[in-house]
């Protein structure tokens, strides 16, 4: 298969626009993407011409343009996994009280694409659209664990495992061992691997072909989610994920 390189570059550039950095200038993008400033400049001009980007005031910096309103509206009405999952996710939230989220693969990262809020005042909060790593946090590890081995290795051996907290697994071998356990157990646990004080339990959702499609998480503050309830909670998450997988399989799309 032959891929169009400049299109890939344009997407890499657009991917720099995140919740954390919604406004960017040429050099910043150039540094993040390892593309030369001339290339970035030209692609930005193209994206701006096509209204995917717009320039902010007089600063010359760029942010997402009006075209994305079109695409956001299409997403909103998209009948898909989210719709099938939502009722099950709400049942799970009512069972445990904690935040329930769905994460999907995006190259070597994951994106939260559906969330049901916690009942508690002190709670884990993950905005839909948030980008997260794959190698830490239970939601990422599950996606990684059930990926075909070659793809998995490429990601793990990519450009090093960034340390987010003291609990982040940064050794590829230890990580592989952990992923193997996750495949055996059918669920993953994270205690502050990505964010201090967070605890989450996560199970995989598969598509019709048995390929990993998403991960289903419950997450909350570590002081409320004790290991004593792990067996019970893990069972609940696994069953919910299985229910979604089944619904998903029966939906012809």
């Amino acid at each position: 298969m032959t891929f169009i390189k400049s299109v890939e570059k344009a997407i890499d550039i657009l991917s720099c626009f995140t919740l954390e950095t919604p406004v960017l200038k040429v050099v910043e993008i150039s540094n993040q993407t390892n593309l030369t400033q001339s290339t970035v400049s030209r692609i930005l001009a193209t994206l701006a011409k096509k209204k995917c980007l717009e320039q902010v005031g007089a600063s010359g910096k760029y942010r997402l343009g009006i075209k994305f309103y079109q695409w956001a509206s299409v997403l909103r009405q998209k009948k898909n996994l989210s719709d099938l999952a939502r009722p099950v996710m709400e049942k799970l939230r009512d069972f445990c009280g904690e935040e329930v989220t769905l994460h999907g693969l995006d190259e070597n990262r994951r994106i939260c694409f559906e969330a049901v809020k916690s009942r508690f005042g002190v709670a884990k909060v993950t905005p839909v659209g948030k980008i997260l790593p794959l190698h830490c946090g239970a939601g990422g590890k599950v996606l990684l664990a059930f990926l075909p081995p070659p793809e998995r290795r490429k990601i793990i051996e990519g450009k090093g495992l960034e340390q987010f907290t003291s609990n982040t697994i940064v050794d590829p071998l230890l990580l592989e061992k952990d992923l193997e356990k996750i495949r055996r157990d059918g669920y993953a646990v994270s205690k502050g691997e990505r964010e201090e004080g967070a605890y989450s339990i996560v199970a995989p959702i598969f598509d019709q072909n048995g390929k990993i499609a998403a991960s289903l998480s419950i997450s909350g503050p570590i002081f409320r989610l004790s290991d004593l309830d792990l067996a019970k909670n893990a069972e609940a998450v696994k069953n919910a994920a299985k229910e979604i997988t089944t619904n998903f399989g029966e939906c012809i799309d």
Copy 2:
């Protein structure tokens, strides 16, 4: 300035994914874009690899992918014209009871990027993200009227003015005459030009440099918005648009 052609093609392809046609296959896109099937096929493969698109079930058709969740979340928190406009729009809705919307330019079309719902049961309803023509409907005509003349002409003389209803102006000369009146009056009116039974009154919003930035509309069923109230309503819309323009000018971005 040199623009990257394959990036433009990719955006044209992505632009085919709309509220009306959220799922598409190669030939359909090829017909809509006038790109050969091989080109479309290769760009689609690239967009799918980068998770901008995903294939639906076994049909092989494509729809928007997970990457757009990232961008949609960035839009949602984007501090911009919408935020400045919303309070003014709500005031205007409370004044007239009808739907109030904001439309922006996207190449030779417009996109609704903000909407405040009508108070009435029988009402005009425009979803955010909806794509509409420029040459008909007051919201489009205002954007067109205040565009720099060369750009305006390019659009009007583009590929013909499509007839939406019996009231659509399809003669370029008549349209130019109408646009001139709109510039003189500072507002536009449409009686069922794009959609039978709709009536709207629209005024322009400008940016810091005096360039047209958006159009502010009130729209409702024609039986409720009578010409008798036009002067009063037009005044209200113009004042609201002026207020937004002023706020916008004072915001340093």
